[in-house]
Amino acid sequence: MRASAQQAPSVSDSPRSLPGTVTLRQVAKRFGEFSAVEQLDLEVQPGEFLSMLGPSGSGKTTVLRMIAGFETVTSGSIHLSGTDVTQTPPHSRPVNTVFQDYALFPHLTIAENVGYGLRVGGTNRTDREAQVRASLEQVRLSAVADRLPHQLSGGQRQRIALARALIMRPQVLLLDEPLGALDKQLREEMQIELKQIQREVGITFIFVTHDQEEALTLSDRVAVFNNGRIEQIGSAREVYEFPKTEFVARFLGLSNLIRGTEPGAELVSVRPERVRLSAADTAAAPGETSFLGTVAEAVYTGPTTRFLVDTEDGQRLTAERANDHHPSAETAFGRGDRVRVGWTADHATRVA
């Protein structure tokens, strides 16, 4: 990376200038001794829905705040739509943010909140009012225009925060765990609504979350963060089905991580729903890796039943089965049953 800077700049080397592209080059952020983000390279495509997923302290929020301009970078550069904004203050960047706690202005009405960006930008009152009205209609909250933020429910505040950012027609929208404060049902509704809005406005969404299901559901690509680095980036299917590292396999959903017994053996990840569960006396299918074991726990979760199996060589594996049989039928195996668990090679992924 360092070497390429000394070469004559090639076309592929300069950040793409399509509106809505976000390019991070070797971005690092240190807070005193603590390294929050390390030498990060990332290119987000125009109109893409990218999720930055990771545990707290993994650096995802810091990256978002650096793109917004709230944090300076320690080193590296940030380009928006091909323009270097590394030193640009937040109020001059063509991005807008939806904050985790919504950050609505408590002393302004909902209409004033939504129109705030246009007001400070010098849009005249008539145009502003028309745009605010249209924006409130888009999020179906015209009725609360004259209320104050504290008089709204969490879901309503969420939509106002979204409207307030989108009215600015940013090239990139940054969302910092925007659904974190909502209850499960509302969160799922808002996920769908977010996805629809993103498709309508067609702008780049960068979405920070620690909820893996949310990231998989919403995103075109998921960047999995750990210790200030991107462990893996790819489509939801790629990161879920083909985790490259143990961390990604563990963080995204449940995973069986198995290391062979021979020295130097590789670690493989097998998703519970890929594990085949059969009676102990059935023979292993050809090409299948299998273990004999005892069901330690059978957990009914509604759509599936999850079996914890203790194998004879002392591992605990998880197998998940869809409850697609007759609703009143009992699940096939119960606690203490002897079973065979196995998988074919193409259902297992090698992880580092």
């Binding site: 709230f70 109020h91 904050f99 950050a103 609505l104 202005f105 408590p106 307030r164």
Partner: protein, 270 residues
């Protein structure tokens, strides 16, 4: 809800009644006596008259004293508003060496006995500044009042700033507002009521200050409290004091009412 027995209710009610009587009966006496014909306060009032009101309104010394008090009060309040707010911001928003000491040093003057502050400032004005040719004069009094008025603004503004979410300022900048626009449209409106309430308290504190004023008032300059004190030494004019006191009592309702309205949390309004 806490439930009280009837006896407890009566007992507590009696205590409240006695306490309120102790506070307000003397004030009523002052008001009554301002209409007293006699030269000195007497009870019961036998002859009512407006003569002292007439004298008070035409008295040049009273007018001068009120004017002095108002000027000093406004000056000290202005100093307190600017410096108190700046210190509150510095202590709430930044970490720096000696932060705790600064906090202590700003609050200390309100706890320090007025006599000590007065003597200290008097010595400084007369024995250090004057010999080197700096005549603080009237401003000496304003600065003296400012030392303890700052605390009123500082405490009020700091308490409010601590409750503000820093995110709203980021949201403002994110939406394109410059730092100044953000302060004017988002930050200031959120602590404005604390700012005004602190200012009113500062003015009230300055307006009735006696001890520090005695030590720092330039020769021949009386504030209203100083004038009243001097008047009490001349019993023949005592009823004049009752008139002035009555006017001050009535005037005090204004800041109390305003600050009570303002101290309410902005989020409480509907």
């Amino acid at each position: 809800m806490l439930r009280l027995s009837l006896a407890a209710k009566i007992g507590l009610g009696a205590i409240v009644a006695v306490a309120l009587a102790f506070m307000y009966v003397p004030l009523f006496l002052v008001v009554f006596n301002s209409f007293n014909e006699a030269r000195i306060a007497t009870w019961p009032v036998t002859d009512f008259s407006l003569q002292w009101w007439g004298k008070a309104f035409t008295s040049e010394p009273i007018r001068a004293a009120i004017l002095n008090s108002v000027i000093v009060g406004l000056g000290a309040t202005a100093v307190a508003l600017v410096l108190g707010t700046l210190v509150a911001f510095a202590l709430q928003r930044f970490t720096f060496f000696g932060k705790q000491s600064v906090n202590l040093l700003v609050v200390l003057p309100i706890a320090l006995p007025g006599v000590v502050t007065g003597v200290a400032l008097n010595n400084t004005y007369n024995q250090i500044l004057e010999p080197i040719g700096i005549q603080v004069g009237y401003f000496g009094m304003i600065i003296a009042h400012g030392t303890f008025c700052i605390v009123m603004v500082f405490n009020n503004v700091l308490a409010r700033l601590r409750r503000l979410s820093p995110n709203v300022e980021e949201a403002s900048r994110d939406l394109g507002a410059t730092p100044w626009q953000t302060f004017r449209l988002v930050t200031f409106p959120q602590f404005r009521s604390a700012f005004v309430a602190g200012g009113i308290l500062a003015f009230a504190l300055s307006f009735d200050e006696v001890v520090v004023t005695i030590f720092t008032a330039p020769p021949g300059v009386d504030t209203l409290p100083l004038w009243i004190m001097n008047q009490m030494a001349r019993p023949n004019e005592a009823s004049l004091v009752n008139v002035v006191a009555t006017v001050v009592i009535l005037a005090s309702f204004i800041p109390v009412w305003v600050s009570q309205r303002l101290s309410r949390d902005p989020a409480d309004r509907d």
